[in-house]
Symmetry: C3
């Protein structure tokens, strides 16, 4: 099994568990939990594939359906103990968005879209599963308020294109731009970064 596939599966697990946890907070039943977990894990990639008119991976390759099913079952059983593995989940999730970003960028390049659209496709792959999860759970998507998540993907995608202009091999480019996503995300969470607020105190006081 290639390293890429392992990372992809770990990322899928992290996304599925995050979806299952959100659904359980809303007291959904088993079917609802599974659907929300599934959509969180594959929703971003599905939207990307619809927009670029590509085949949707999980509909032909069942690996991800099985992985998500097992992740949901374990998340339900151990839901009260997930606090103990939160760090591992966060790490998987962070590696997952890095990988999803690069997969999205590369799919965009393969279909010959302009660089700015490829970066958008990468960010969408990594982030829009969470947007659909929040809409289905009747919440304003968290990413529109605390977006370092998306910013990390955008910067990583831009790094990918800058590195393409060098003589570096494609493997190295993937590793460096993936590391950029991971590093920004880890720094942002560690130091509680957020985008500079555009609102004055007087505006926020009106709320």
């Amino acid at each position: 099994m290639s390293l890429f596939l392992i990372i992809d599966i770990l990322g899928t697990i992290a996304f599925a568990v995050s979806g299952a946890l959100t659904a359980m907070k809303k007291r959904m039943d088993v079917f609802g939990i599974f659907i929300i977990a599934f959509v969180t894990a594959v929703g971003g990639g599905t939207l990307r594939d619809l927009l670029i008119d590509a085949n949707i991976t999980w509909m032909r390759n069942l690996t991800f359906v099985y992985v998500i099913t097992v992740a949901v079952v374990l998340a339900i059983i151990f839901r009260r103990k997930l606090g103990y593995v939160r760090r591992s989940l966060f790490l998987f999730d962070t590696i997952g968005i890095a990988l999803y970003t690069i997969v999205g960028v590369e799919k965009g390049i393969a279909a010959d879209f302009p660089p700015i659209i490829c970066v958008a496709l990468g960010t969408m792959s990594a982030c829009f599963g969470g947007v659909i999860r929040d809409i289905l759970c009747n919440e304003i998507p968290v990413i529109f308020r605390k977006n370092i998540y998306a910013t990390a993907c955008i910067v990583g995608g831009v790094a990918y294109f800058l590195l393409l202009k060098t003589t570096l091999s494609s493997d190295i480019i993937v590793i460096i731009s993936g590391s950029v996503v991971i590093t920004i995300r880890l720094l942002a969470v560690t130091f509680n970064w957020s985008l500079p607020s555009i609102y004055r105190k007087s505006e926020l006081a009106e709320d």
Copy 2:
């Protein structure tokens, strides 16, 4: 007119009326009521067709547009008397999801998707119109909380695949697996079944 088309039209009427009723509860205007009714009736099939890259039926065959329009007009006029036909509507709706499930499964098989994905496509055809209806009305989709609806479709879809391995004719397979969906739904509503809850009393008490 074939029996299938008649059932399909009855199912569409039931879905459209359910959408119109939800929209009227939210005090939407005539345009909003029509859109919600339309989306409830055709949304699941449209999402399925987008995912499998098939033509979208209602865009080429206007029968369903006309049926939905008439159903919405009648639902608005007789909205205070719909209680009297609730039983008929429920029956149409139940027959409708059975038919939609089988249509979805068969479309998946025709496009050569794996069985598990075909069952998912059948369930999506039957259930996701209601999910889109609830999102547009700013509610958490009811199906994620009381899901016997979806469970009936899943069991019916699985039955379809098990029967495919027998020597039964395709008509008989459709009738039996459709009856499975209808029977489970009717039993579930009659005996107020729901999926076993995963939550302990202590968890629900926290809410």
Copy 3:
């Protein structure tokens, strides 16, 4: 630069600013504001293109990405002064929906859909960006409650088809049917028109 492109850009600016204002009311951060503005401006056309299986314009032609980016930056900087240009924005928006309606109708005709579906595609192009904006902001879409917006598009689309049966040139048909959309919208706002309510006072009193 053709007149059509100028109108299209002005319409895009108006839609993007309306999205940005909604996002700022929800106190989203810069990323969220940009995404909501973008979706408001291009969401209706994107949904249309997905349904008719056409190429999605903004993914190949970056003009709109740049226009929306500039519009969002200006909307953020001058957000407290946008009241002064509200009239201009409203005018752009009204001209924009007229143009979007006609573009949608013509795309439907080019793909050989029935007239009623072409009118629906035109209305969707003009109105569904706002629907997606409201869903992402966790609101019931405003268009389902105050729909003269959509009604103007529907009447304009029908006018287009009626005029096609005359000997008028296609330019004249576009101008007349576009003017129909603009006139109805302006009259509706000036005289505060809405669709006749279907609810009795006794029903509204129950709320």
